[in-house]
Amino acid sequence: MNARKRVAIPVRPEPGSDLPEAERRAVRESVQQNRALEGNLLPILHAIQDRLGWIPPRVIALIAFELNLSRAEVHGVISFYHYFRQHAPGQHLIYLCRAEACQAVGAVELEAHAKRALGVEFHGTSSDGRYTLEPVYCLGNCASGPSLLVDGELHGRMTPQRFDALIARDGK
């Protein structure tokens, strides 16, 4: 018998084994919890973002594997929706309304002030990592604007002064 040259068969690692534990668990739990739903991709992405604060691009392969979708399909959905984050946010997330009803009562000035105060543009995170500023197109608080949502808390009749007070409060 000739000694044949041994050929190494590449071993495919278990999907997701390259991920940090927290991310792997977040994806697995989110998928498990929502798998039975019709049209389950958005609920799963929401669940992942609720757990991690964002959807790191490296988890896409595991989501795709779990749902038998292509990575392109999953990436396509994540990138289509403004709410899904592909970058880690700061400690506090500010959604500032840019829509017409808020513009009518000073949202444009407030936007300029917020950007100056935090030293960021929209989608940016302040250099101390505390605040991420996002635009939002209507919070449904249109009779009491300008409006913003900080960490899920809605604030109306916002002024540059009140914005500064809010930042001072949360910054502590």
Binding site: L37, G39, N40, Y95, A99, L139, A143
Partner: protein
């Protein structure tokens, strides 16, 4: 004796400080040995008075507002638990002209009941419509909705009964009821107010729709910008299941209706019904070609009713009081009532439910009281970000779908955004194009590319760079978008742009730049 106090848990009231007020009243009540029971309600929609606190007295509810936490000590000192006089004393809230002169059919319970308390809902006429529907044949339910003259309140104003009839007659083992709660239009919040203040009304309306067309499954597609409404709906749906108003034996009828809330993810386009269906199926919210109509091939290819929150929420009263009762409100082909939202730079912003036919001027001045800034009203935008900007000369237009369309505008979801004389309409027109570029789903070229080109052309026009040519170009571009786009986003973005150009041309001329800077 324990005094009952009503304080909203609704998002606008919270945004203006309702939570610290509730906390302060509870604390002060405990401290002073005057027991209070605080009931958290929806908002009545009189937002300039929020946070509005109502005290139950033997003579009825006595209101105080707008109350801040710092006012609470003073209110106790003034004896507000027995309706005592105070600077913030408003008396019977229902005698305030703003509220008194409304016709609240769909929004009748807002601010009155505890939104998640099912017994409270039933004590105020809730589930009477379903009770009637359970005893009817599906075809008769649909006929009642058709006869009521109800048209889709989301904006397109398509007759609801005709849509339902199409789904009823469509063959299919599985049919769906989908509620479009992706209320993305700026200047609108009536869906949110209803979901936060009277969620069972929506659930009841969708259940009746299910019985009417033979659908056993429903979804509420809610925008994720509404976390408060999400929490309220989830709680209400869980309770409705528990009490047998959802599930496999709806109200003892032996029939099934399952209901879930699904969250959107910040895409304006998902308010377009076919994009919404794509999103519910777990895909990018790109619009579908029509036909096939969603009524025939909708969610997962099955016959589907897609209606707005207010459309569904108007159904219970139609079934309860009859089609004629509802139909007797309104004018022309616009029957029933419309929850109108007064927003932007307005002194008395809020919700006004009136029969169709009231004029824009009445809304702006009699209800709204002019601008919040005290300056003259220069423009209004009705119907969301795709609605036309109108000048004062159009304020006598009645709120009626046909009258608005005839005037070159649209009533849409009934949102009115008020601007004072500091507004720069060229900037608003530019924003309309910018918004379209941000929110375009990308499927059709006029919308995807036209919106970005539109921003550029407006910039050159305002800069005075061969202005006459730019204006021709802009009008040509708008014509292409209007006639060549697949859906309303690209197709209606020209409305705010062209109306700004037609009625406020001076803002686009080069001289406007220094004038705007002076303001």
């Amino acid at each position: 004796m324990t005094t009952t106090i009503y304080i909203p848990r609704e998002a606008t009231a919270l945004s203006l400080g309702a939570q610290p007020v509730a906390d302060a009243i509870a604390a002060q009540g405990a401290r002073s040995g005057k027991p209070v029971r605080i009931v958290r309600t929806g908002s009545r929609g009189l937002f300039w008075l929020e946070p509005l606190v109502e005290v139950q007295t033997p003579a009825g509810r006595v209101a105080y507002g707008p109350v801040q936490a710092a006012d609470v000590d003073g209110l106790f000192a003034a004896g507000f638990l027995t309706g005592g006089k105070h600077a913030l004393h408003l008396g019977d809230v229902e005698s305030i002209p703003y509220l008194k002169n409304q016709q609240r059919l769909t929004c009748a319970r807002l601010g009155i009941i505890d939104p998640v308390n099912l017994e409270d809902y039933r004590a105020h006429g809730g589930y009477e419509g379903l009770k009637a529907a359970v005893a009817m044949q599906p075809g008769d339910i649909v006929k009642a909705v058709t006869d009521s003259g109800l048209r889709g309140r989301g904006g397109a104003a398509f007759p609801t009964g005709i849509k339902w009839k199409t789904v009823l007659d469509a063959a299919g083992e599985q049919k769906y009821i989908v509620c479009n709660a992706d209320e993305g239009d700026s200047g609108t919040f009536s869906d949110r107010l209803l979901m936060e203040g009277d969620p069972y009304c929506l659930i009841e309306g969708m259940t009746i729709a299910g019985l009417g067309v033979g659908a056993t499954r429903g979804y509420i597609y809610l925008r994720c910008e509404y976390p408060h409404a999400h929490a309220t709906l989830k709680q209400a749906i869980a309770t409705a299941y528990e009490k047998g108003f959802l599930g496999n034996d709806v109200a003892g009828s032996g029939r099934t209706f399952e209901l879930q809330v699904r969250l959107g993810a910040g895409a304006y386009i998902c308010g377009e019904e076919t994009s919404l269906l794509e999103s519910l199926e777990g895909r990018r919210g790109q619009i579908r070609f029509k036909p096939p109509l969603p009524a025939l091939k909708g969610l997962f290819g099955c016959p589907t009713v897609v209606n707005n929150v207010i459309s569904f929420a108007s159904v219970p009263i139609i079934l309860q009081k009859g089609a004629t009762y509802y139909r007797d409100f309104g004018v022309g082909r616009s029957r029933g009532t419309l929850p109108i939202q007064l927003t932007g730079n307005v002194a008395r912003g809020g919700l006004v439910e009136r029969a169709f036919g009231v004029t824009l001027r009445e809304m702006l001045y009699d209800y709204g009281g002019g601008t919040r800034s005290g300056r003259p009203v220069r423009a209004v935008q009705v119907g969301g970000p795709l609605g036309a900007y109108w000048p004062e000369s159009k304020f006598d237009t009645p709120l009626d779908y046909e009258a608005f369309a005839a005037g070159g505008g649209m009533l849409g979801h009934g949102g009115i955004v008020v601007f004072d004389d500091t507004v720069d309409l060229a900037a608003q027109a530019r924003y309309a194009m910018e918004f379209c570029a941000i929110e375009s789903c990308g499927k059709c070229t006029p919308c995807r590319l036209g919106s970005t080109r539109g921003v550029e052309v407006i910039d050159r026009l305002v800069a005075g760079d061969r202005a006459a040519m730019q204006q021709t170009l802009l009008r040509d571009l708008c014509d292409t978008m209007l006639n060549g786009s697949l859906c309303a986003l690209g197709g209606l973005t020209p409305y705010p742009v062209l109306s700004a150009l037609d009625y406020f041309a001076e803002d686009f001329s080069k001289a406007a730049a220094p004038r705007a800077a002076q303001r």
